[in-house]
Homo-oligomer: 278 residues x 2
């Protein structure tokens, strides 16, 4: 792997992650992944707001927006972008260095790592025709203190993602221990039943992404009644249509979940269009 | 913090943790903490066995015992030890570096980080008279796929440990979401009821430490019937005595849990003595 100038640690190209960083020791931190277009982070206010909220939820003081924007500008100089080129920034904020032991030091200085990568090449067919999901055997644990937060404790997602290797499967559906649908390994999920658009309640587990939030705000534009509620797998499979979303690919129509398939539907493309104009 | 020659990354004093390490990105790894006496890891066969088992449980091939022993010998040269001096080694094994995304690369090379620290100074009173616990508000999530494993996803322990600052509280008791006693933030727990010694079942959450295992093996030596079972907080508070254990301090008698206190008892000292001779 060539890592030349592909990451910044605390604003420096020359730093590495300390072996004493609590992000490394305990996953004691949070992160975000976002598109960068022409050197600028897409939907930055929402990403930063979420970063601050997630940090606060575990007692970390998030670095200022100015500091992070400065990092992004250093790592993504605008003259390195071709027209309409999109790159990806991942921002990791940890509680910083600490001695051995779970108790944080009395004074901590958060670590910020900003990592550059190329935009994944999503197949044009995924946008035109949709994607296939599988139901993961790995189920999400119920933890109200961490639910909704995009924290660094992501072994459940890793184990779930290790369940398949077929390229034909775009993402894996994650249920909670009681069999409710929560999300996919890297996506949030919505289901339409007639004129009702439902997305799972994430107060007990799952990650509340910002594209999910942006779709929730589209209620009046879409002419659908939006509901955040709990939904079982059986109920999901009876939906009129299902879509998934995240900050990189945007929105995809779901063609199939395991043996269940849907005829080609239009909701993903309608929402994609609405999001462009929101 | 002075980190001079206090850690080895993949056998080298000059390496750091990569910003792309999956241990940092996702807590995708496991760890162990052990005493080093006169340059040698105490209870090494059990620690290594557990490291291999924990790695295997999340699909990591653990580095060889030879490699890790070589690291320990480099980091803890025997001539740096005073007589009877104890230092602490923490071994972290991660899945290694990866690109963005939960799917591990087709070929991975695990990262091994070995970190040296001083032995914590436990108060002599803790050994002579026992310790006090509090009941944590943070409860452990149920995740059978990760239960028992000492993995790097430890935000629950961090949040629980952040609940108190008083030095008088040695550790915090962790319950599961249903109110069963599981462990403490850095300790396993046992309760004696007459001639029965009970320790919580850890098949749904918790970390199964090696000192817990060594105590389970003492059954016949102690003349107690040992049972691994589920136990509620109310039941625990009715125990004749309670002890906690880990690989660093060994075994401590519990004097109190919140408002409940016990008269001074002897089980911890009996077990400490038995462990020395096992």
């Amino acid at each position: 792997m060539s890592h030349h100038r592909t990451f910044l640690i605390n604003g420096s190209f020359d730093q590495a992650i300390s072996a004493f960083d609590r992000g490394f020791a305990y996953g004691d931190g949070v992160f975000r992944t976002m598109q960068i277009r022409n050197g600028l982070p897409v939907n930055w206010p929402l990403h930063y707001q979420k970063l601050v909220a997630d940090c606060a939820a575990i007692g970390i003081v998030c670095p200022s927006a100015e500091l992070l924007m400065n990092d992004l500008q250093q790592l993504f100089p605008v003259n390195e972008f071709d027209e309409n080129e999109i790159k990806v920034a991942k921002i990791i904020i940890t509680r910083g260095e600490g001695d051995r032991g779970y108790a944080p030091p009395a004074v901590t200085a958060p670590t910020r790592a900003v990592i550059k990568s190329a935009m994944p090449q999503y197949a044009a067919l995924n946008y035109a025709q949709g994607v296939n999901l599988r139901v993961c055997e790995t189920r999400l644990a119920t933890q109200p203190k961490l639910a909704g937060i995009k924290h660094l404790n992501r072994l459940e997602n890793v184990l779930a993602r290790m369940e398949w290797r077929e390229d034909a499967i775009f993402d894996g559906l994650l249920l909670d221990q009681q069999g409710h649908v929560i999300e996919c390994t890297m996506s949030n999920i919505f289901a339409r039943f007639d004129n009702k658009l439902i997305t799972p309640d994430l107060t007990l587990c799952g990650v509340a992404g910002i594209t999910r939030q942006r779709i929730l705000w589209l209620e009046s534009v879409l002419g659908l009644t939006v509901q955040v509620t709990s939904i079982t797998l059986d109920q999901l499979l009876q939906a009129d249509e299902v879509i998934i979303c995240n900050s990189l690919y945007g929105v995809f129509q779901v063609n199939s979940i395991g043996a269940k398939s849907w005829q080609q539907q239009k909701l993903a493309s309608i929402i994609r269009n609405a999001l462009i104009h929101d």
